[in-house]
């Protein structure tokens, strides 16, 4: 039995005092998201005459992580989009008291039986459905862009931002991460940051919900080519919807290494789908700004992961791999956006 099982059971019992014979089984740590330890588990109990079994996901703050994020925002995003046209699992419990499981955590429903791997999506049976997956992936992103954060109850949870300040807030934040965490000088990223500050993008009409990490690898898909769940909302915030579009187009997600964005379709097609679904226009110059920004943000994350690993805060090998595998690719992506790649 996993050491967390009895502790999770005690916690679940406090949340469900009316049920009987409650037990937690099959607790298993899985890779999922960059910022939290993720566990899959089964919760079984008797509710009156009914025997219930629920498959759940528990996301617990780790000692160190790729991204320092606010679990309340991630939890709120799942709650906000549940039962909307944006498919997400149901969020159940948010717990900030570390006494239960040593660190804060939240629990949500598991959408089981689907895949999320950015490598598996390139292979059969999924490879036959790439255009369908692309249509759904960028349509859903368009729907996130059109969502009203106030109606979704996210305005009080996510930090407000004036549309005209959206770019500066994000650039300041991720530049700060590089400043704090870099283990070596970053001449390409420093040049990119200077370019971004000299050439700010136009402001969006309003502040939109930005998922913050919308890419192949962060959604669940099935064998028929349907997107079944949008995951990993840990970097969700209010801002410019082009930020999400640009991030989804980032060159480092070209997993098939053939230029198809997210390993699925052409960049032009992805933009067309997003524009059609959102009713917004992706101004090419503004989108270019956000694409370059997405390289800065990506590099900040790979730099942070390298520091976490090197300092011993978190020695999950995936953190070392992120730095080695993607930092140079991210530099090349920035150079390409700037028209400087030889």
């Amino acid at each position: 039995m996993h050491e967390l099982a009895p502790r999770i059971a005690r916690y679940a019992k406090s949340r469900l005092p009316q049920v009987a014979e409650l037990e937690v089984a099959d607790v298993e740590r899985i890779h999922g998201g960059a910022s939290r330890e993720t566990y899959r588990l089964k919760l079984r109990y008797r509710d009156g005459a009914n025997a219930i079994e629920r498959r759940l996901i528990l996301r617990r703050d780790p000692p160190g992580s790729l991204i320092e994020t606010d679990r309340a925002i991630e939890f709120a995003a799942y709650q906000a989009f549940h039962a909307t046209s944006v498919p997400v699992p149901e969020a159940l419990w948010l717990e900030n008291d570390p006494s239960h499981l040593d660190y804060p955590f939240f629990v949500m429903e598991e959408l089981s039986g689907f895949d999320a791997s950015p490598q598996n999506i390139l292979m059969p049976p999924y490879a036959a459905h790439h255009e369908k997956l692309a249509r759904q992936k960028w349509s859903i992103l368009g729907e996130i862009a059109t969502a009203d954060p106030e109606k979704l109850g996210l305005v009080g949870v996510m930090k407000p931002v004036a549309p005209v300040d959206a770019w500066r807030r994000e650039l300041d934040h991720w530049t700060g991460v590089i400043d704090e965490d870099e283990l070596a000088p970053q001449p390409i990223m420093r040049a990119a940051i200077r370019f971004l500050r000299r050439n700010p993008p136009p402001a969006p009409a309003r502040a939109h919900v930005v998922h913050g990490d919308y890419r192949t690898g962060n959604f669940l898909y099935d064998k028929e080519g349907n997107v079944r769940g949008i995951l990993d909302w840990e970097m969700a915030h209010l801002g410019d919807p082009l930020e999400d579009l640009a991030w989804s187009l980032n060159r480092v997600w070209c997993w098939a290494r053939d230029g198809r964005v997210g390993g699925l379709t052409s960049k032009q097609n992805a933009i067309r789908i997003w524009e059609s679904a959102s009713g917004l226009r992706a101004d090419p110059e503004a989108l270019r700004w956000w694409e370059l920004f997405s390289s800065v943000k990506g590099q900040a994350i790979w730099i942070s992961s390298g520091r976490e690993y090197q300092t011993g805060k978190n020695q999950d090998p995936v953190l070392a791999l992120s730095g080695w595998w993607l930092m140079n690719a991210q530099d090349r992506a920035a150079l390409e956006t700037l028209g400087k790649l030889a």
């Binding site: 740590r29 890779h31 001449p187 060159r251 080695w324 595998w325 090349r332």
Partner: protein, 148 residues
């Protein structure tokens, strides 16, 4: 070292991926073994070129600084560019080459930011040379498994 280091790393990575990982549970640990195999594969690729690419890059940066010293108007920066341009790698230890590379690339950031502020054909030509060096730096670091 015999057997050759790249061969040892290649075989170890293969054993991690195909012999060990399938027999490891739970899936999180299995995945970590697979990731560790990828790390070994990257070290294998880097092993042979590690010193050469640092020596090449440090030499390219020093040449750029000698050129830059004749262009920049900031006297303090010019003096440091001249000193860096006249320096050399005293050791071929990777750690020493890396330390020198970090210092040179930090100076490159200063040079780039400074020349962006200068007008004139010489400044533009130097800026172009800096961009070419930055592009070349990513070619030196390219990995076979990288997505881009």
């Amino acid at each position: 070292m015999k057997p050759d280091v790249p061969k040892v790393l290649e075989i170890l990575a293969g054993r991690f991926l195909f012999d060990i990982a399938p027999n490891v549970a739970p899936s999180y640990r299995q995945s970590s073994v697979g990731v560790s195999a990828m790390l070994l594969g990257i070290v294998r690729e880097e092993w042979d070129r590690a010193a050469a690419r640092r020596v090449d890059e440090n030499a390219s940066l020093r040449a750029l600084f000698r050129e830059g010293a004749g262009v920049v108007t900031d006297t303090n920066l010019r003096r440091r560019l001249e000193a860096a341009g006249a320096s050399s790698d005293a050791s071929l230890l990777i750690s020493e080459l890396e330390k020198a590379n970090d210092a040179l690339r930090a100076l490159l950031i200063e040079l780039h930011a400074s020349v962006e502020q200068q007008s004139g054909a010489a400044a533009r030509a130097l800026e172009d040379a800096i961009w070419r060096e930055l592009a070349a730096s990513t070619e030196r670091r390219k990995l076979a498994i990288a997505p881009f």
